[in-house]
C-alpha cells in the first residue's frame, strides 16, 4: 500500500470535509431521537422514518424541479420529508403513548412498514431507475471559507450542513435552557411526578415524538434530496439504527451526539475514499471493498462496547405511562 497517497494534506482535507457531510443525516436523526428519548419514548423506528422521509423528499423535489417552484424544489422536498417523518411518528405515538403498546415491538414493526412503503412508492412512481434531483449548491461563507484548510473543511458546504450544526446548539438550548425542555426531561425521568405537578405527560410525549421523527425524516430527505440526489432501495443503509446506537453513545447529550455522528461520518468517508483510491492505485485493492463497507457498522459496535451501562438514560425510557395506574 502506498501510504503517501493517504497521508497528504489534500487527501486529509477532502476526507474530513466529506466526513462532515456524511455525518449530517445521522446527526439529524440522533438529535431528534435525543429529544424523543428524553421524554421517555423509545423510537426504534428511525430507519423506517428515514426511508419514508427520504423517498418523500426525493419524490417532491423531483416533481417540482421543472415547474414554477423549481428554485425551491429542494427546500420543499426537505419540508415534505419532515412532514412524512412526522406522519410515521404519529403512528408510533398513537400506538405507544395513547394505547401503551410495547415500544420495542412498535418500533421494529414501524421500520419494516416504513421501508416497505418507501420501496413501494418509489417503484410505483419511477419506472426508470436513473432519476436525479438538482440538490443544493455549496454556500461558501464569505471570508471564513478563505481560511486555509479550516475554511474548506468547515465553511464550504451546502446550507443543510450549517443548519444542522446550528440545530446541535438549538436542541441543547431547547432541552436544557427552556421551560419546554425541562418539561420533556421531567416527563422522561418521572412521569407520575410530572403529571402531579400539572404537566400533560401524553401531550409532551406526543410533541417529543413528533419533533424526533420530523428531524429523522429531514435526515432521510437530506440524504436523498441533497447529498446523493437519488433514491434506491435500502438507501438509508442502517443510518437509523446507527442513530439509535449513537444516542446511547452520546448519553442523551446533543453535543456528544455531534461527536458520535462525526465519528460515523469519518468512518463512512474513509470507506468511500479508500474505495475510490483503490481503483486508481491497484496495490490498495488488497482490502476487499466489502470490509471497508463494514466499517461504520463495526465502528458502531466498538464504540458501544465502551459506552454501555445505561445509568444516564432517562429513568422512564421505553415505559408507557398509565395515568390510572397509581
Amino acid at each position: 500500500m502506498n501510504w503517501s497517497l493517504i497521508l497528504n494534506w489534500a487527501f486529509v482535507v477532502a476526507l474530513v470535509t466529506a466526513g462532515i457531510r456524511l455525518a449530517i443525516p445521522v446527526l439529524l436523526a440522533v438529535l431528534g431521537e435525543t429529544v424523543t428519548e428524553r421524554a421517555g419514548v423509545l423510537n426504534l423506528g428511525l430507519e423506517g422514518v428515514m426511508a419514508v422521509g427520504g423517498v418523500t423528499g426525493f419524490l417532491v423535489a423531483y416533481l417540482l424541479q421543472s415547474g414554477p417552484l423549481a428554485a425551491w424544489s429542494s427546500w420543499i422536498g426537505l419540508l415534505a420529508g419532515m412532514a412524512a417523518g412526522m406522519l410515521l411518528g404519529l403512528i408510533l405515538a398513537v400506538l405507544s403513548i395513547s394505547l401503551q403498546a410495547d415500544q420495542v415491538i412498535c418500533g421494529v414493526t414501524l421500520v419494516v412498514f416504513g421501508q416497505g412503503l418507501a420501496n413501494y412508492v418509489y417503484r410505483q412512481a419511477f419506472s426508470s431507475l436513473t432519476a436525479r434531483v438538482p440538490g443544493l449548491p455549496a454556500l461558501p461563507i464569505p471570508l471564513l471559507s478563505r481560511i486555509p484548510v479550516l475554511g474548506e473543511i468547515l465553511f464550504d458546504h451546502d446550507a443543510t450542513v450549517y443548519i444542522t450544526f446550528a440545530l446541535v446548539y438549538l436542541v441543547w438550548l431547547f432541552l436544557f435552557r427552556t421551560h419546554w425542555g425541562l418539561s420533556i426531561r421531567a416527563v422522561g425521568e418521572n412521569p407520575a411526578a410530572a403529571e402531579t405537578s400539572g404537566l400533560n405527560v401524553s401531550a409532551i410525549r406526543y410533541a417529543a415524538t413528533l419533533i424526533g421523527t420530523a428531524l429523522a425524516g429531514l435526515g432521510g430527505a437530506v440524504l436523498t434530496t441533497i447529498q446523493l440526489r437519488m433514491f434506491r432501495e435500502g438507501i438509508t443503509g442502517g443510518r437509523g439504527w446507527i442513530a439509535v446506537a449513537l444516542v446511547i453513545f452520546a448519553r442523551w447529550q446533543p453535543k456528544l451526539a455531534l461527536v458520535g455522528a462525526l465519528l460515523f461520518g469519518l468512518a463512512d468517508s474513509i470507506q468511500y475514499r479508500i474505495q475510490a483510491l483503490s481503483q486508481v492505485e491497484r496495490g490498495m485493492g488488497t482490502i476487499p471493498y466489502e470490509f471497508l463497507l463494514m466499517l461504520p457498522y463495526v465502528l458502531t459496535l466498538v464504540v458501544l462496547l465502551y459506552r454501555t451501562g445505561h445509568s444516564e438514560a432517562p429513568a422512564a425510557l421505553g415505559r408507557a405511562y398509565d395515568k390510572s395506574a397509581d
Partner: protein, 355 residues
C-alpha cells in the same frame, strides 16, 4: 410478551367467549384492516384493489403449483418465526434473523461445496448442522456482547446483519467464487446436496423439519424447565433473578436457539432454491420472520398460521406484480401494517378492560 394470554383470558371471561377465539380475533381483525389500508395504497396508484387481491389469491392458492410455492415460501418464515418466538418470550429482542440466516447459508453452503462426495445422509446432516451452527455462532456474538458488556441486543444483532450480508457478498465474489465464473456467486451445489422431497412433490425435508418444530417449540416453552425459565425472564426479570433463575443463561439460550433456527432457514433455502451462494439469497426473511412471530402472538401454532399467510402475501404480490405491474414491495408494507393493526387491537382490548 404475554399480552396474548393476559388480554385473552379476562375478555373471554366477561364475554363468555372461548379464549382462543378472543386471542385469534385481534390478528384476524388486524389482517382485515391491514388489507383494507393496503387496498387504499393500490387504489392510490390507480389500479383496482379487488382485482389486485384476486390476482394475489390466485397466485398463492390457485392450483397445486401455486400452493406448493406458498408452502415452500412459508417454511423459512416458519423456521425464523419459531426461533424468535422462544427469544421474544424471554423478551430477548433478536432482530438479527437476517444476518443469522446469511451465516447459516454460508456455513452450510461451504459444506455443500466441499463435501459433496460424502455419503448422502452424512452430507445432508453435516450441511444442515453447519447451517444451524453458523446462525447460532453469529447470534452468540450478540449474546456475549449483551451478557458481558450489557450491550443492547437490538443494536448488536442489527449491526451484525449488515456485516454478515457484506461478508457473504465478499465470499461469493472472492474465495468461494465459481472457478472461471464471471458472476459474484459460487459454483452450483452438487445434486447430492438437494434435500429429499416428499412423494414426488417439491415439498422437501426442510418443510417437514419446520412443521415438526411447531409441537417441539410448544413443548419446549410450556413443558420444560428451560421454557419456564425463558418465560419467567420475559415476564419479570427481577422476579426470575430472585427465584434463582440465571437470566444470563436464558439470554444466551434465547439468542442461540433463534439464531440456530434462522441459520437452518438459510441453508434450507439456499440448498433447495438458489443452489449456490450469492449476495441475494433472502427476501428479507429475517424481518418478515419477526412480523410472523408477532402476528402469531409468539405461539407456535399461531406462528405456523401467520407464516402461511405471509408466504401467501409474498407469492401473491409477486404474481400481482407480473400481472398488473404493481410493485411487490407492497407485500412488506401490508405485512407490517397488519402487525401494527394487531398491536393496536390488542392495546385497545386491554384498555377497554381497564376502563
Amino acid at each position: 410478551m404475554s399480552e396474548g394470554d393476559t388480554v385473552a383470558r379476562p375478555v373471554a371471561k366477561r364475554l363468555a367467549l372461548p379464549s382462543w377465539l378472543v386471542a385469534g380475533g385481534a390478528p384476524v381483525a388486524g389482517a382485515l384492516v391491514g388489507l383494507a389500508i393496503g387496498a387504499l395504497l393500490i387504489r392510490l396508484t390507480g389500479a383496482d384493489p379487488l382485482q389486485a387481491y384476486a390476482t394475489m389469491v390466485r397466485g398463492a392458492f390457485g392450483g397445486p403449483r401455486q400452493i406448493t410455492d406458498t408452502i415452500l415460501k412459508a417454511s423459512p418464515l416458519l423456521l425464523v418465526g419459531l426461533g424468535l418466538t422462544a427469544a421474544f418470550r424471554a423478551r430477548v429482542w433478536n432482530i438479527g434473523g437476517e444476518g443469522q440466516y446469511y451465516m447459516g447459508a454460508l456455513c452450510g453452503g461451504i459444506v455443500a461445496l466441499y463435501c459433496a462426495n460424502w455419503p448422502r445422509p452424512l452430507l445432508l446432516v453435516t450441511m444442515l448442522g453447519a447451517g444451524v451452527a453458523g446462525g447460532m455462532a453469529w447470534a452468540l456474538v450478540a449474546a456475549v456482547l449483551k451478557v458481558r458488556r450489557g450491550m443492547s441486543e437490538i443494536i448488536s444483532t442489527l449491526m451484525l446483519n449488515y456485516i454478515a450480508i457484506l461478508f457473504m457478498q465478499y465470499m461469493a465474489r472472492g474465495p468461494l467464487q465459481e472457478p472461471g465464473g464471471y458472476l459474484p456467486e459460487s459454483a452450483q451445489f452438487a445434486a447430492s446436496t438437494r434435500l429429499p422431497t416428499l412423494l414426488g412433490t417439491r415439498v422437501h425435508l426442510g418443510v417437514l423439519i419446520a412443521v415438526l418444530l411447531v409441537p417441539l417449540v410448544y413443548a419446549l416453552l410450556w413443558s420444560t424447565p428451560l421454557g419456564f425459565r425463558l418465560r419467567a425472564v420475559g415476564s419479570r426479570e427481577s422476579v426470575a433473578r430472585y427465584a434463582g433463575i440465571s437470566v444470563e443463561w436464558a439470554i444466551v439460550f434465547a439468542l442461540a436457539f433463534s439464531g440456530g433456527l434462522s441459520g437452518l432457514a438459510g441453508i434450507v433455502e439456499v440448498s433447495t432454491l438458489h443452489t449456490r451462494l450469492k449476495a441475494a439469497i433472502s427476501g428479507g426473511y429475517g424481518f418478515s420472520g419477526i412480523l410472523v412471530a408477532l402476528l402469531g402472538r409468539m405461539h407456535p401454532v399461531g406462528v405456523a398460521i401467520a407464516s402461511v399467510f405471509f408466504a401467501a402475501l409474498i407469492i401473491g404480490a409477486q404474481s400481482m406484480h407480473v400481472v398488473s405491474g404493481l410493485p411487490d414491495a407492497l407485500a412488506n408494507a401490508v405485512q407490517a401494517l397488519i402487525v401494527l393493526c394487531v398491536l393496536a387491537a390488542d392495546a385497545l382490548a386491554r384498555r377497554r378492560l381497564n376502563a
